[in-house]
């Protein structure tokens, strides 16, 4: 699992590559918590999962946990670049009902920064 974090103003962008399971979900949680400690002004989260090849309930739980953290701050949480294999578990878990979905990180960023709820066509 390879995780890269980037902050753009009050947005935390996390790019994930590899497999999000029990072991790597713990790393993901710790890295996001460290980012929040260092930059308390962070408000929104964008998760780029386009490089994610596997996810299970531990990975989904970690995403839900981060969703709750950012929602508590009044922020928005996006999942972007969802591939079919990962997508069917996001669907089954009900996570798609709480997080926002965008095609790319750029689109999600534009939506957050423009504070637009959704984009048309």
């Amino acid at each position: 699992m390879n995780l890269s974090l980037e902050t753009i103003e009050d947005v935390l962008l996390v790019r994930m590559r590899g497999e999000l399971d029990l072991e790597t979900a713990a790393k993901f949680r710790v890295l996001v918590e460290e980012a929040l400690d260092h930059r308390p002004g962070l408000k929104h989260l964008i998760l780029d999962v386009s490089g994610l090849s596997f996810i299970d309930s531990s990975g989904l739980g970690a995403i839900l946990g981060r969703y709750r953290q950012f929602a508590e701050r009044g922020g928005r949480v996006f999942v972007v670049g969802v591939q079919p294999g990962v997508g069917r578990l996001l669907e089954l878990s009900g996570l798609f009902r709480v997080v926002e979905v965008a095609a790319t990180a750029e689109e999600a960023l534009a939506r957050v920064q423009g504070e637009v709820g959704s984009v048309d066509g």
Partner: protein
């Protein structure tokens, strides 16, 4: 089962450590791939089910540290059978544990692991005795991995 001999089989035991979850799912997936009829979706379903069941041993079975996890797989002409067993704390109420969103560790856990296992495998039998351990028996047949879009009802 009974008289029918498997074409191939393996059994291994390892400690319930988090890095062994990916080791277990990759191993069982590679083994099951020996049956040509399995589609990529079937293999993906097996990968998820093994990941869930082995994760459960790591997370729930041994609250005071790591303990042994035994994984056995038997390949037949028309299916793979997988057993994941531990000697841990056991499950007080198996029927409850199988329900969607039931978890004894709320917080980061969604209680979906065993729900996924039931959705993705063709047959799942869980036997458990509190204080003695848990055994999960699962069967996957080729062609059943149709990326089901729904959870079982209930």
């Amino acid at each position: 089962m009974g008289e029918e001999e498997p074409v191939n089989r393996f059994s291994l035991t390892f400690p319930s450590l988090a890095p062994n979850v990916s080791f277990a799912r990759s191993t069982v997936a590679a083994f099951a791939s020996q049956l040509d009829q399995f589609t990529l979706e079937d293999i993906e379903d097996i990968r998820i089910a093994v990941s869930e069941v082995v994760s459960n041993v790591v997370i729930h079975a041994y609250p005071k540290g790591a303990g042994p996890v035994r994984v056995e797989a038997s390949l037949y002409h028309d299916r793979v059978e997988v057993v994941v067993a531990d000697n841990g704390c056991g499950i007080a109420d198996v029927e409850k544990a199988k329900e969607p969103a039931f978890t004894t560790l709320p917080g980061e856990r969604m209680g979906l692991g065993l729900t996924f296992v039931q959705a993705y495998m063709d047959r799942v039998e869980i036997t458990s005795r509190p204080g003695e351990g848990t055994r999960v028996f699962m069967v996957k047949r080729p062609g059943s991995g149709v990326s089901k879009g729904q959870l079982p009802e209930g």
